[in-house]
Symmetry: C2
Subunit: 249 residues, 2 copies
């Protein structure tokens, strides 16, 4: 909430004090054959820049002219990096402090986004030759990228933790798949994010029992021995919450 105190002798709304830098960062995740991947961009090499040539989450400063709100800013940053098809976008939280950017007190608003692999090639629609997909562990480590710029290791870790915790009891992994998808594909997405195998029978029983989750969308010819049933989401707007999480085991 904007300040109420006005101890200074200036008029009622005294706003002449230093303001933090304000940014938005996005952990854009997708699914490859190996598992989860995250999109990173390489920072400019100029030595005057903080963390030159390091890999970082895509993002950048709020533009108070262009961005109507935080979510709009996140969407704009996403568009600039990749041709996304209506990604799932959720705020993870915000990180702010005096030390996290050498240029001064800064606060960043972190989002994570989920997209199906096909529609999310960087460069395809995006202008980012400096953007690449990296395999990422469930703990948020990116083996191939070294230490990320700023506190982005921590931000990415938090984004993955959020995703992992919600997987247990929501339909989030479905947003990693292109529609229509099959139940075995959906189970694979869950297993990739959970980091463990699930029982086929229990998974299907459960997924099909959740109201408002899946709608049948015809048989799919995948080339598999038996052609599987295709499904689409009932609500693309957001995830469905399950009554109970997967058993811990």
């Amino acid at each position: 909430m904007p300040a109420k105190k006005s101890n200074a002798p200036s008029p009622a709304t005294a706003l002449e004090f230093p303001r933090p830098l304000v940014t938005v960062d996005i952990a854009l995740l997708t699914l490859s054959g190996n598992g989860l991947q995250v999109l990173l961009v390489q920072r400019p090499r100029a030595p005057a820049e903080p963390y030159p040539a390091r890999w970082a989450l895509p993002g950048g400063f709020i533009d108070v002219q262009k961005d109507h709100d935080l979510q709009a800013c996140a969407m704009r940053k996403l568009r600039e990096k990749t041709a996304v098809s209506s990604p799932y976008l959720e705020q993870v939280g915000s990180w702010g402090g005096a030390e996290r950017d050498p240029r001064g007190w800064s606060a960043t608003h972190v989002y994570f986004a989920l997209v199906p692999r096909e529609t999310s090639e960087p460069g395809k629609g995006g202008n980012a030759a400096d953007a690449r997909w990296f395999d990422v562990t469930l703990g948020g480590l990116v083996p191939g990228a070294g230490a990320l710029a700023f506190d982005h290791d921590e931000l990415l870790c938090a984004a993955l933790q959020r995703l992992r915790s919600k997987v247990e009891y929501t339909s989030l992994p479905a947003f990693l798949l292109a529609e229509p998808f099959t139940l075995p594909q959906l189970q694979g997405a869950y297993e990739a994010v959970l980091g463990r195998r699930l029982d086929r029978s229990a998974f299907r029983r459960r997924a099909l029992a959740v109201p408002g989750f899946l709608r049948e969308a015809g048989i799919i010819q995948t080339g598999a021995p038996r052609a599987p049933q295709g499904y689409v989401l009932e609500h693309r707007g957001g995830p469905v919450v399950f009554a109970r999480p997967f058993e811990p085991r």
Copy 2:
């Protein structure tokens, strides 16, 4: 993430663009006999101020000199309003946009805090004669306060939604109680936040089965017909997560 683009002809780190206002707001919650209460402060009456004399969540601008990070800023705001005894503090998220403050593009970082009733009297240690506890519904409505300043109705609503959703599967309500507390008291806290009654037997069985949740702390003489067993938290640092949520019923 701070910007990487430097299209402008200025040197590598061009930071001469308008910055948003940055604030922190806190939904401080406690438990009264009736149920949940929230602490609100009244905005100054000067007509030059935005939303004069309206009730608002406690909070205010980041002070880049005093506040090392966002959480420290939230703790400072809390100290200024009430004498809290190590409250539970958790970030809810951030809200930012061009319209939410008439003074300009602003972003606020929202926290919710839980304190036991006894130690949280405003004025006791706090300097806020303009602060008051209000009964609040589980939906986040404050019947006695009218429309809150700024978008604080929405922020409060989000804070309560976060609390309610976590109650189902965490030990959060315990932070609304002074230690040592009894199991019936704990059940009462859960019922207040859940908005429904729970079965005693199931509740005890469950609460006592969660590892790392409760530790016995002697019999308490409350004046009740039968003196109950007292408990304290194993970890005051944060909530414990249950393997399964309460059944929907």
